[in-house]
């Protein structure tokens, strides 16, 4: 069994995270922004698992399960909110949705 080096995994996690951040920043559609957030969460989870296996401790996997649970909760609420927003505004474009004037 070949073991992936911690550096490579962390690099992958960093890449995923950057993709997520870029997605959140660039996408106009809330739905895709939510997806990008999920990617970021998974990047963090990946980093936890890598670190856990590197130190030979279970904490990393425990944290991943937490993140999974949280992501599931978040997605369910987030999706329902998005549905509600679409229902009200007939649009998911973030720039059209802002109502505050600052």
């Amino acid at each position: 069994m070949t073991t992936a080096s911690i550096d490579n995994v962390l690099l992958l996690a960093g890449l995923l995270f950057t993709i997520g951040v870029a997605g959140v920043m660039m996408r106009k559609n809330i739905f895709f922004m939510l997806l990008s957030v999920e990617i970021m969460l998974n990047a963090a989870g990946l980093a936890f698992i890598a670190a856990g296996s590197h130190w030979g401790q279970p904490d990393g996997q425990v944290m991943f399960i937490f993140i999974l649970a949280m992501a599931a909760a978040e997605v369910s609420i987030g999706l329902s909110l998005i549905l509600q927003i679409y229902h009200l505004h007939k649009s998911l474009d973030i720039d059209n949705l802002k109502e505050m004037n600052g």
């Binding site: 959140v24 920043m25 922004m33 973030i94 802002k98 109502e99 505050m100 004037n101 600052g102």
Partner: protein
Amino acid sequence: MQTMLWIIPALPLLGFLLLISYGSRLSRRQTAAIGVGSVLLSACAGLYAGGQLLLHPSLVYEVTLWTWIDIGDFHPAIALRMDALAAVFVFVITLIGALIHLYSAEFMEKDPDYSRFFACMNLFVFAMLVLVLADNLLLLYLGWEGVGLCSYLLIGFWYENPANGHAARKAFTMTRIGDTALAIGLFCIYYACKSLNIVDISTAAPLIFQQNPQEATLIAFLLLGGALGKSAQLPLQTWLPDAMAGPSPVSALIHAATMVTAGVYLIARMYVFFELAPAVQGLIAVIGAITLLVAGLSALTQYDIKRVLAYSTISQIGYMFLALGVGAWTAAIFHFMVHAFFKALLFLGAGAIIESVNHEHSMFRMGGLRKKLPIIFWTFMVGTASLAAIPLVTAGFYSKDQILWYAWGARHGQAWLWSMAWVGAFITAAYSARMVLLVFWGPLKTEVTSRPRWSITFPLIALAVCSTWIGFVDLPHNFGHFTPFSDFLHHTLPLTELRADPTTEWMFQILATVATVGGLLLAYSYYYIHNKRLRHLANQPLFRRLHRLWLAGWGFDKLYQTFISRPFLWVTKANKADGVDQLYSAMANITTSLNQRMAALQSGSLRWYIMGMVLGAIILFGLQLLL
């Protein structure tokens, strides 16, 4: 018997309390009965007590009512003490007070605030009696401020006219400047002598200040400050002419006979300090001499009869200060007493005249009243003669001659002080003559609308009699050695030391007579014989300018207004909104504007928020790496 001394001030106080609490329910007769009766009874008690003092030279009345304050070493009491000096003042205050109250009973008859008037007058008599009977300086200060209050209330008696209110506040504030100096003087005395009891500090002072004469000078200077304010001497004299806004009995009682001489009383009472501080004593003489000239010249030009008398009062008190300054203590008190009688008489007479000619104040619109108001004319003439110091027959002659003589002959006497006083005597005679000539002689200019009844004429006659005989209680040395008045006062006040030869006194008496006669003749020639000459004089620019200056009281008012009142008003007005509050408001405003800026960031645009978060994270990581 001694312990009954408190009755003298208590009677007017009782009158005041009755009038203030039941005034609105009393009839005019009852009001007058309480107002006049209380002072009259007090005068009887005062005369009795004074008589006892005369009979038993070693007697001093002392009574302690209760301890006022008791903190550590500081325990002034509400305690009264009557010695010879206080007795003279009590005599004048209660006797003249009673006569003036009687006069007011008729004079103020038509006034709607009859009971308020008598309440204030009674309160004044009470406060003035407390002032002179106080056995410690704190109680004296109570009376001192109390008379100031009554003066304020009575100057502004007809309060609907704002000008009267202004005059009243001016009087109160200007005297308060002096009062504050007096209060600071009290602090100095307390810390130097550990007591405010007048007898204690007078006996202890020479020892205490032997090593520390500067402190004595400072104290004397501060006491003088208080006296200057109350007695309307330079430079705090400008309130007195304006104080004539009050009713005439008030001017007679407060602003001529009693309150304005409180300064004289204070200096005489605290003479120990002035003897320890010769510089300040010299200053008193100088201030007195300058004041008597300045005020006398102003009196020479006034139109309003009451203002003439007001300036004349300032000038006569200047004489008293001069006497105090040269160390002629008894002469000052003698002139105080004589002046109180004739000046009260003149003010009451002036009030009666003004009332008779339909409230006309200007002497130039009176005239020819000699035949119309004979009683007033004769009594007024007696008063004026006393003021002008007509030799031998008037009381004013004896008292003023004494001061003139001591201004030369006493230990601190100076030739130039004497000459200023001599010129003052000349001016006094001139303005006195001018006043009576304008009022009583010449053509009738304003019709007489009413004539005084007995309760006005009786006090006038009584005062006229007093203004004549009272001079005989202290005759000059070359008139036979008859000096019961100064002998009496010497129980309290020191002897007047002479530097000149007493045998030369007759020369000064003749010179004084020359001044009086010269002044009378001058006024006579300008105001009676040669009216044209006066007009000619008035056309000369120099005299016109002088006239304007003197009429305005040497422009002191304008000076104070420009340099004190206006800047004060400007500062208070400029800072009405409170500069410090602006500071706090600025803090609040900065917070609000920051809040607005920050609120602008919360635009609702999600991408901006994320951008901010990412940027923040990058900066934090960057900092982490760098540090």
